[in-house]
Each structure stands twice: as C-alpha cells, then as structure tokens.
C-alpha cells in the first residue's frame, strides 16, 4: 500500500538562519560530548542540556523573562535587549534569549540593574514610537503595549514623538506597513529571509536612521513580496497589518440593493475562537455561521464546496496530464503537476521559478472558483443580477486579498471575489456588531453549497490537498472505497508537519471509468501497475528545497503531483490568522481540522451531491470541459525576480 518514505531533504520549517544555525551547529557537535549543565536562576537550580539558552531554562522553571525580538519560529536575533539578565561574575548584562549555557552559571532575572535596564529599554522603545493604541489594529494584543503595562510605564521618560516619521505604505493589496510603529525587532526580516526565504525585507541605514525596508525602499506592491503575511503574524506591534476591507464590506451589507454572500474557508473556523479567548484547537464553525447571519450577510457558504470542485478539476487535469505522458508518450507534458490553491505559492513561483509555470495546475483556487460559480450559476438559479452580488471570502490568508484583485480573475465579466476578509478582520466585525461569538446558537451553512465533504475541510492543513486528491483519485480509478484502502480513509503518511514529505501509491488494479469523467477517459488500463509519486511541502523555504531538487533532477522531479503551501503549517498558519503563532498553536488547529473531517458523513469530493448537481445542471461538459475551463481555470504570469 502507500509507502511512506520520509524525505531526506530535511524536515523543518525553520530554514537555515544566520544566528540560530551558527549557534546550533556548534552546540550540536558539543552536545554529543558534553554533559548537561547546572544553572541557577533566581535561586532555583536545574540541569539543562549543554547549550540551552537562559530563556529555555527559565521557562522550564516557570520563571517569566520578558521578550520582544525573540520568536519561537525564528532564528535568534538578540537585538531588543528586553530580556537582559544578570549573570554572576559578568560585567555586562546578557540577553537571556540568545545566551547559551555551557558552564554552570548563576542568573538573576530581576536584580536592580536588570529592572532598571529593562525599564530604560522600554522607555526608549516608546520614545521613538509613533502611534495611538486606540486607533491601532493591534490594540489589546500588542506586545509593546503589554511590556509597557507590565513594567508600569506611567510617563514618557525620554519623550515621545508627536509627528510621524514615515509615510504609511498602502500600496499592496495584501499588507499595510506603518513603520512609525516599528520597534525594529526584525522578526519580519527573519520571517521573510529565514523562514520563508523570500527576502523582501532588510534593515537599511545605521544608528537611529535604521529602518526596515524593501529593495531600494520601494513600495511593497512593487517588490517580490508574495503576500503570505507571515511577517504580520510575527510582528509584535501594529507596524504590519493586512489591508483591511471591513468598511467596504459593511457598506455592502448596509446597502439593501446588494446581495452579500460570504464563503468561509476551513482554517478561520478552527482559529477565530482564539480571538475570543478560546484555547487554540477549538472549531466554532456553526456558532460563526449564526454570527455571520447576525452581522447581516445574506448567504453563508462553505468554501469546502469549492475545495471539492478544485479537487475534481485539478484531479481531472492531473489524470489528463498523466495520460498524455504515459499513453501518448508526449514528452512535452509538464509533470509533476503543482497545486495552485495557495496564492502565496503562486506568486512565489511566478517570481522565483517562472520557467516552471506550466507545471502549476490551471485550476483556480477554491476561493476564486466559488466566486465564479456564485456570479454565474448561483445568480442564474436565484434570478440575481451578478452586478448586485457582492462576494466576500473569509480566509486565513493575506495573499487571498491580492489574488481576488488579479485582473484575470473575472472570467464571468465580474470580479470573482470582491473582498477577501481575514480571520482577524471578521473577529473585529463580530465584536463591532456586539455579537458574543462563543454564546451563539449553532446553525448550518446555506444551500445549495452548504454540503461539503471532509476532503474540503482538510485543505486547511498541510498535506490536506494531497490527501483529498488521493481519496478522490483512488476511488475514481480503482473503484475501491477509500475506507477499504485506508482506515477511515485517512491517508496518514501525507499528514504531519515535516517541511517536505514524499509518498508513493502503487495502483495495483483499476475499475471502470465513472460517469463524471467518462468524457475524458475510456478506461484506466494505462494506470495499472503505475506507482503514483507525490510530494507535500509547506512554507516557501521548503518549496524552494523541492524546486531546487526538481531542478537538479532529484527525487521530486520524478513525482506526479506536488502540493505546495506558502505558509508554514498550510492555511491554518496563514497570514490572516489570529496572533500569536507557534508550532504548538498550529498543531492544535490542525487537530481541530482533522476532527472536523472525521465528523463529516461524506468525505470524498466527487461524492459531494452539490458538486454532482453543478456538473449536471451548469458545467454540463464536465470537469476540464469548455465551460469549466472558462470559469474555473486561469493562467499565470512570469514575473521574475527583478522588477523594473
């Protein structure tokens, strides 16, 4: 059966990084030959592995040391100095986040010197900060604000700016950068360079003229930013935020002439509870439906419907490519086929590997497919003029805001999607409407697109698209129920959080061609004995590894299908999700998503009755037919790395 070969390409979303690897490599070598070390913090003694940081040790002891530039997902910077502590016998204070313990030491985390230094540092940060909390997107969950509160800042000891120093960069559809609120913690740089390996942001200038900037300090819309929003998720302040369309969405809701439809993706429902005080890992799908109705949306649909549609279209496209390669022996066919549902990934490949664009599935992402279906099929069904329909997409993602503004995304004559809303922004709308999300009664999605399958749900996590595709393809081709092949039809080997994964699926026998794709294939005999090879990766740093492997003719060049997600963890870790983010939080969200998948009765995309209906009534020439090609497929743009 499905063989699980973990990739040798490395298994981490933590890309090689300036400071961390440098420390880590040496420590790894040293750890083998060194015994654990004793450390005493505020009088409590424990043993820690050689090279553990003071911060690690303090956490083990339950001692809180404040931090600002430190982030679990990122390499160490040691720049804000908020975490300084006193080590007995050392002249200067040391940054707890980046000081490795290699000999027994005695540490004080709140000696007079430490307290004074921390207070000074916080005062200094506030002294060069321009922004007002009540008008700030981060109000109430800003790390700078929290520090100021914790340290009892009651005046601006070293003054306060009364004028902004920088113009706000609003050029991007996805992100807004307000450097007046930046504390130069450089998390965004480390995110973009080390975690995502895109490299849009760097520090420029020296001294107090230092600032975070793009190449040649251009507006964000004019550089190679892929809009993944990972930097937003890790920014401790309101300096980075998503481009927020809630005012326009409210306007549409308030306009009686407009029929406002919202589709909600799988990941926001697994995370929005966090904005209302729930522990990560609790989906509030049905409470959220009621809240959306009370906000005034006319219809609430499940993006999972469109995810199922994507699986069918993308799966059919894959089978067609395979047939051309295996039966017609057409060497020009681009394999492996790459997924296209992550707009961050799509922009990444447009910039960094434009020569591989023919590998990207032409199928639109679920968000866009849904928009196209709503403005055509749904409009027809309900006798609505598509220009009176406003389509809103609730997404965990900032790149979706860019995607819905791509000029090619309006095949119906109207923008597929008018507004992309992030999880955080919806939470704001719900609060604004005075709705207590967690106290809402439960209610279902609206018909006709309310029915979805679990396969759509798991799109939200890394490996989900692949798993859904496997379920569908296996059944289409073999005629066996997925349940016969995998327990609960759960394709465990493609699950998990390893950055790059690889799996094989030998097709031992084939069944008859089901009606849905009978216009494309006469039989499956040509697939008999073929071993499907698949790859999964998440985070563009890992995408880069896979692409480089393909370029050098490695294992992934032999794959048939590869799932790419721009964000670490997949959509559940998207740039529109609530902060903070960490590996644990992402894992908890994944658990919630898999649990929801199990709860569905229909779990395979091609069994979704709404989908079957859509092909019967509207897309009558079937998957990958003319109609679907016009509405549900798209093309890409070779952008390259060098922008004029």
């Amino acid at each position: 059966m499905l063989e699980d070969i973990r990739s040798e390409l490395g298994d981490t979303t933590r890309a090689p990084a300036s400071q961390r690897t440098r420390t880590a490599e040496v420590l790894k070598r040293a750890r083998e030959s060194h015994k654990p070390v004793e450390v005493t913090i505020d009088g409590n003694t424990i043993e820690v592995p050689f090279g553990a940081t003071i911060l690690d040790a303090a956490q083990q002891l339950g001692i809180r040391i404040p931090t600002l530039c430190y982030h679990e997902d990122l390499c160490l910077a040691g720049v804000c100095r908020v975490c300084v502590v006193e080590i007995e016998g050392q002249r200067t204070l040391q940054a707890a986040c980046s000081y490795p313990i290699t000999v027994p030491i005695k540490v004080q985390t709140h000696s007079p010197k430490v307290r004074r230094a921390r207070r000074h540092i916080i005062d200094l940060l506030l002294g060069s900060h321009y922004g007002e909390c009540y008008t700030c997107s981060r109000n109430n969950y800003c790390e700078l604000q929290r520090l100021a509160a914790e340290y009892g800042v009651d005046c601006f000891r070293f003054g306060h700016l009364s004028e902004p120093r920088f113009e706000i960069d609003q050029s991007s559809h996805a992100l807004v950068r307000d450097m007046n609120k930046c504390v130069l913690c450089r998390r965004c740089i480390r995110t973009c360079i080390d975690l995502q390996e895109v490299g849009v942001l760097e520090a420029i200038g020296r001294g107090n003229r230092t600032k975070i900037a793009t190449f040649m300090d251009k507006p964000l819309a004019e550089v190679i930013c892929i809009n993944c929003g990972q930097c937003i998720n890790r920014c401790p302040t309101g300096a980075l935020r998503a481009n927020d369309p809630t005012d326009e969405v409210w306007q549409a809701i308030d306009n009686p002439k407009k029929h406002v439809v919202i589709q909600t993706a799988p990941s926001p429902r697994a995370a929005i509870g966090e904005c209302f005080g729930l522990e990560p890992g609790h989906a509030v799908t049905f409470e959220m439906n009621t809240a959306l109705r009370r906000c005034g949306f006319d219809r609430i649909f499940d993006t999972n419907f469109a995810a199922d549609l994507t699986i069918i279209e993308e799966g059919a496209e894959l089978l067609m490519r395979l047939k051309r390669a295996l039966v017609d022996k057409d060497e020009s066919v681009a394999l492996p086929q790459f997924t296209s549902c992550s707009p961050g990934w799509v922009k990444y490949i447009e910039h960094f590997y434009p020569e591989y664009l023919d590998h990207v599935s032409s199928a639109k992402s679920p968000q866009q497919m849904f928009g196209a279906v709503i403005k055509t099929y749904y409009a027809q069904l309900n006798g609505l003029d598509p220009k009176d329909i406003v389509t809103v997409a609730l997404m965990p993602c900032s790149a979706k805001k860019f995607e819905c503004n791509r000029p090619e995304m309006c095949a119906s004559g109207h923008k597929d999607i008018d507004f992309g809303l992030t999880t955080r922004e919806l939470a704001k709308m719900i609060r604004e409407a005075g709705i207590d999300l967690l106290g809402m009664p439960k209610s279902d999605f609206d018909d006709p697109f309310g029915t979805a399958t679990g396969s759509g749900v798991i799109f939200g996590t890394t490996g989900g698209v692949m798993e859904a595709a496997i379920r569908t393809v296996v059944e289409l081709v073999t005629g066996h129920k997925g349940e016969d092949l995998f327990e609960h039809a759960e394709v465990i080997p493609v699950r998990g959080f390893e950055g790059v994964r690889y799996a094989e699926l030998p097709i031992a026998d084939v069944g008859p061609v089901p009606e849905l794709v009978a216009h494309l294939f006469d039989d499956w005999d040509w697939l008999k004995g073929v071993t499907l090879k698949m790859g999964v990766c998440h985070g563009t740093a890992n995408a880069k590894k896979v692409m480089e492997d393909i370029k050098s003719g490695g294992k992934f060049s032999q794959c048939h299908f590869i799932e790419f997600m721009a964000c670490p963890g997949g959509c559940l870790g998207g740039g529109g999700q609530p902060g903070p983010t960490s590996p644990e939080i992402r894992a908890a969200r994944a658990k919630a998503i898999y649990a929801e998948d199990r709860a569905y009765t229909v779990r395979k995309s091609h069994e979704n009755p709404a989908i079957v209906q859509l092909y019967k009534q509207f897309l009558t020439d079937g998957p990958c037919g003319q109609k679907s090609h016009h509405l549900l497929h798209t093309h890409y743009m070779a952008r390259g790395k060098y922008i004029e």
Partner: protein, 395 residues
C-alpha cells in the same frame, strides 16, 4: 620615562623581516605559545585580551579549517598608528599572521582593510607577492614541509562597527556588518563557522618582535600586567602630534610632556570609546589595569568646550551604531539631546541624573562594545566637568 620614539625610529624598524618566523618555525606551535605567554603580550586593538590565550583556545578548537584574520579596520577616531604599520611594516604584519597560522594550524589568512586605506592596497599586494616569492607565504613555508599558509586582502566598506570582530566576520561573509550574539566566540565559531582568530595589526607586528628578540626583552618594558611597548596616535591640542611608541604604564602627564601638551585641561584616552581624563587625574597610567587604550590620545587644550567634545563623540556613535540593538540605537541620541539641552541650559539636574543612569544601562545592556562604550565620554565629562557644563544660559 624612557624610550619615547616617534615615527621613523620605532622598534619595528629594528626587526629584520623573516627573523621572527624563523625563530617560530624552529620550535613547535606550543613553544611559540609559551614564548608569547611569558612575554605577557595583550591585544593592541583596545580590549587587551591576552594574545597567547586567544591563540591557545583557537589551537585547541576542533575544526579542519581555521582562519587568521588581521583587523586593519582602524576606525577609532584619533587612531592612525595601524596605518603607519601597514605603510612601513606590512612585512611584519604578514609574518605575524604566519606565526599565528603555525600556532593554530590555519591555512588561510585575511586582512580586513579599512575602506579609507584602499590606497595602501597595491603596496600590501606587492609585499604579499614578494613574501610568496621568498617562500614566506604559500606552500611549505621556509622549507617547512606541510606548512602552508596564504593571505588575502579584503576591503571594508566604511563602517566603524565593522572593527568589532564579529561584525567584521559578518562583513567578510557578505552580510550587513552587525555584531553577533556571543557566545559562541570567533575562536570556535568564526568566519564561515570555522575557528578564527582576529587580532589587531599591531598585535601581529609585536609577535614578530617577541619571536625575534625574546619574551624577556619584551616584558622588561611596561608594567607587570601591561608589558611591552605600544604605539600611540597622538592628536589634538599639543605641539608634536604623531605616532609614538611608549612603554605601557606611562602616566598621562609624562605622555603630555613628550608630545608638548602640558597645557591640556583634559585628555581623551582610547578614542571616542575611551575615557575623558581631567587634569586632576593626569597622574594616572595608561595600562590595562588603569586606563586601557587602543592607542588613541586626543589632547584638549584649555579653550575647548567640553560639551562640544561630548557632542562630537556622541554624533560619531549615532552615525556609526549598526542600529540593531535598542539601547545603543535609541539611547545614544538621548544622550546627545541631553548635551544640547545642557548647552542651552535647559537640562534639569534630575534629567541629567536620569541620563547618567541611562548611560550606565547602555554600558551594561548594549549588545556590543560600541554601545557599551558610547556613553563613556559623556559620563566622564559629566563627572569631571560639572562646573563647566552646568548653569549655562541659552545662546
């Protein structure tokens, strides 16, 4: 006070090229280390770290590739003694680096040359070429089988902080020149993560002298903890500015006598990062145990406004801070603001105290030496020149 030597009659003029290396290669690396240790040589770049200890740790560090880096970034205001050595005694520097390579087992050496010294590069390349011809560099140096070492010159890009050894290494690796977190230190994780020693130009030159003339000769000068001679760059309000060689342990007053600066009301020892010594303390000595220095001496005559002096230094640090850590980036400008307030007579005693306390935080909490030393001049001027700086009126 003996042995004041001006440019043109330095000890370095008396050592013949190759003699130090011959002496070193006659013994093992461990023997060389013992010699340097008993000479008591400490780094001439400013911090005064014992050279033999640095080299010993690097020799013991695990790694098949090691690097010897010469710090020729000389960026401290008022320092120009390395320039003289580079111009007149490059052969000694390279020879010292070769001895270091012998001790720690390095194959590659790099000279990180200050951008402003680009004009010296052809000369340095010519010396390197000559040494290669003489088999003082290259494969099987001086006929010693298996001992190979060569040196490359790399240019700095004009930033003071790149003289800090870890920022220097970042810069060599093609990154923004910003100091690294330490530990780890370069001796185990340096250039490209390989064990690396970074030493000042002058340190290498003295190693050659020690190997040629003996540890006893060297340690017969200076004090117990600060042995030997050192070069000084003397500038400011004195009759005879220039590069001098003095034994360590010289008092400020003696030094002023030699350079014709008896009128001085204060002397900045150690450049912008150093201490501002008032007349009342001119009997203090220049030595690692008292006032340490990389060699910069700036003399301030009676007419100098000490607030101008502080302003000048602080502006320098604001320009040169790499900007990565909060205390240095945001704190030094606050000190400068304070100086300007003092000038206008607008700084309350309470705020001045706050600023001094902030200065202490900068010394303690900054990430690298730059931010740690940036408040020194400010703090010593506030401490020693209260009468002069307080109670001014605007205009």
């Amino acid at each position: 006070m003996t042995h004041a030597m001006k440019t043109g009659s330095l000890t370095f003029d008396t050592v013949e090229s190759g003699t130090g290396l011959d002496a070193a290669l006659a013994g093992t690396g461990a023997e060389v280390l013992r010699t340097i240790k008993s000479s008591g040589l400490r780094g001439r770049g400013g911090a005064g770290f014992p050279t033999s200890l640095k080299w010993k740790l690097a020799a013991e560090a695990e790694g098949d590739r090691k690097y010897v880096v010469c710090n020729a970034d000389e960026g401290e205001p008022g320092t120009f003694k390395d320039r003289v050595i580079l111009a007149d005694h490059a052969d000694l520097i390279f020879e010292g680096m070769t001895i270091a390579a012998w001790v720690i087992g390095a194959r590659y050496g790099i000279v990180y040359l200050r951008a402003e010294y680009t004009y010296l590069r052809p000369h340095l390349e010519a010396v390197l070429a000559r040494q290669r011809e003489q088999k003082l560099l290259g494969e099987n140096i001086s006929g010693k089988k298996g001992f190979s070492f060569d040196i490359q010159i790399r240019m700095g890009a004009g930033s003071y902080v790149c003289g800090e050894e870890t920022a220097l290494i970042e810069s060599l690796e093609g990154q923004r020149g910003e100091p690294r977190n330490r530990p780890p230190v370069p001796i185990d994780t340096g250039y490209l993560d390989h064990p690396t020693i970074v030493n000042n130009v002058e340190t290498f030159a003295w190693v050659v002298c020690i190997m040629a003339k003996g540890a006893k000769w060297f340690s017969s000068f200076g004090t117990e903890k600060s042995t030997g001679h050192k070069l000084f760059s003397v500038s400011g309000d004195c009759d005879r500015p220039g590069v001098y060689e003095f034994p360590l342990g010289i008092s400020v007053a003696e030094l002023l006598d030699e350079v014709g600066g008896q009128e001085a009301k204060a002397v900045q020892v150690g450049g912008a990062a150093g201490l501002c010594v008032p007349e009342s303390q001119f009997d203090r000595t220049i030595a690692y145990e008292d006032i340490p220095t990389g060699g910069s001496i700036i003399v301030f005559g009676p007419d100098r406004d000490m607030l101008d002096v502080a302003e000048n230094f602080l502006e320098f640090f604001i320009d040169e801070s790499c900007g990565q850590c909060t205390p240095c980036r945001e704190g030094v400008p606050k000190l400068l603001e304070g100086v300007n307030m003092l000038k206008r007579g607008e700084c309350s005693m309470a705020y001045l105290e706050e600023l001094c306390s902030l200065g202490e935080t900068l010394q303690l909490a900054s990430k690298c030496g730059l931010g740690q030393m940036a408040p020194n001049a400010f703090l010593s001027i506030v401490e020693h020149f209260q009468d002069e700086i307080l109670g001014r009126t605007a205009g």
